[in-house]
Symmetry: C2
Subunit: 307 residues, 2 copies
């Protein structure tokens, strides 16, 4: 690769002039300008990004740590994020991490000046507080100012409203294992139920169980009646449906399964009703946050999805 020195020599000017032409570009005699441009062209010169970063103290790299267990979910986010980032001329440094320690390691390794900021996506487990410029997307619980999250309360409300309109008033909920997400979901669920005059039955709510199959078994073992089942996402929905059928419970006839997050499904892929979030919208907000252009409103609301 040719350097700025080569260009300067060929163009018979100083490095500074070359730099000016290729960056600031104002206040340069047209002749020199042309000479530089021509020299750069013939040498196929590209300013070295690393050297640039060293001076500017910014790499234009954003680290993205994908913590989603189910890869199919991450891919949509990745695409949306990459699109937003490249629109802002930022690069996306990718890392997968399937549990908290792995996320920590990834954060460590990316915190050596290589990235301007970090993004953690879809961590469904508890994360220790991360001091750096880390933004959380769709994670279980995170400081509000540094994260963009789904409005889970709104989602649960919508779901209950939808189900009760479909005459499914005995609604079970397999909630997130914990965190703010679980709290908000439960709140939305209770609130909407109250509005619908549906009596609250604690047995219908399973919490603190990270294994969905076990959660469902608990529910069935309790012999509480339910004609609808709220689960946190599509993969949980799939598992639930399989298990329900194993129990000879027909879906959706006997039990309607409703996914509280169906954003990552392909269009027309499934007939499971769900709340869908705009990945593009989420990515846009996240990138805005990362770039320090807070739009002060990091809660995203989803729309009802059902074919």
């Amino acid at each position: 690769m040719s350097t700025i020195n080569d260009v300067a020599r060929l163009a018979q000017v100083s490095k500074a002039t070359v730099s000016r032409v290729l960056s600031g570009s104002r206040g340069v005699k047209e002749a020199s300008r042309q000479a530089v441009l021509r020299a750069a062209e013939t040498l196929n010169y590209k300013p070295n990004a690393i050297a640039r970063s060293l001076t500017s103290q910014t790499t234009h790299c954003i680290g993205v740590i994908c913590a989603t267990e189910h890869v199919q979910q991450s891919t949509g986010y990745l695409q949306a994020l990459e699109k937003q980032l490249s629109q802002h001329r930022k690069h996306l440094l990718l890392r997968f991490a399937s549990d908290a320690p792995a996320v920590l390691r990834a954060v460590e390794e990316l915190s050596s000046g290589l990235c301007d900021a970090l993004l953690v996506v879809g961590a469904r487990f508890a994360l220790p507080p991360l001091h750096e410029d880390v933004i959380f997307i769709d994670c279980l619980s995170a400081p509000d100012a540094q994260s963009v999250a789904c409005d889970r309360q709104f989602a649960a409300q919508t779901a209950v409203e939808y189900l009760s309109r479909h005459k499914r008033r005995d609604i079970a909920l397999i909630n997130f294992p914990g965190g703010d997400a679980a709290r908000e979901t439960l709140q939305g669920y209770r609130e909407a139920a109250e509005n619908q005059l549906i009596p609250f039955n604690r047995q219908r709510v399973i919490e603190g169980e990270s294994e969905p199959r076990i959660a469902l078994q608990k529910l069935i073992n309790s012999r509480v009646k339910f004609t609808a089942l709220l689960v946190t996402d599509d993969s949980q929905a799939q598992e639930a449906i399989t298990l329900l059928r194993d129990y000879q419970i027909s879906v959706p006839e006997q039990v309607v399964v409703f996914s509280l997050d169906g954003s990552t499904r392909l269009p027309g892929q499934s007939a499971i009703p769900a709340i869908g979030y705009s990945l593009e919208g989420i990515a846009r907000k996240a990138v805005a946050l990362v770039l320090g252009q807070d739009d002060e409103h990091n809660r995203v609301r989803g729309t009802l999805l059902c074919d």
Copy 2:
């Protein structure tokens, strides 16, 4: 962030000593060594990756340009690649590109010293020759030395063999639109057919058609008989099946659809017979190539998949 200077000052030694301790680490008095280590610890010092890159002329970043149209396919590759790369302490810079110009742009933007090498994955379209250190994975056609590709001839052979064992001897093929991939596939197809004493009927082979639906319509319009259909990948298979059913042709009873690349499907997802490739194996080879440890054998063979 603290710099090497801060550490040197705190440890009462020179920058050079600090550097020695934290890198080469030999030929340093134990006392200084401890002092440096302690200082680095209290300052939470991490050598700046950018400054390091500037001197070492290597960034440890590998650019990955995902050219797969169907995102579901890219995600498996991404995960496999990231795993291999991080094992080699390399970073993965992600970029999506859906057509040739976009790939070109991505290559341009990543060729400014930020990446040590580039990887293009799954380009199903013609690519102009790329001069840089670009390695191609699963692309339509690329110089053999710079690419890891599926052994398509072997795949087609295997498919034809499998189908004829299942008494499906009238095998149609919707081939790749062009490139070496198409050539090899056709060759494998013909060779196996010959071995099985299946007469070759050019009408059964559709080539040069990038739109799978149109390709299939061509085939059907020609009224040639076929009891099996070879397509290049799972998404094509899905489209084909839908269309066949629109034509009242039952799958797999009347026509068995066989996917020549089913690597990116989830286990047990589909009952379509296919050739599957080990993404991990492909990623391993690709990373070896990128790191200059050629293993001299960049062809990957797939295994028969059918439940």
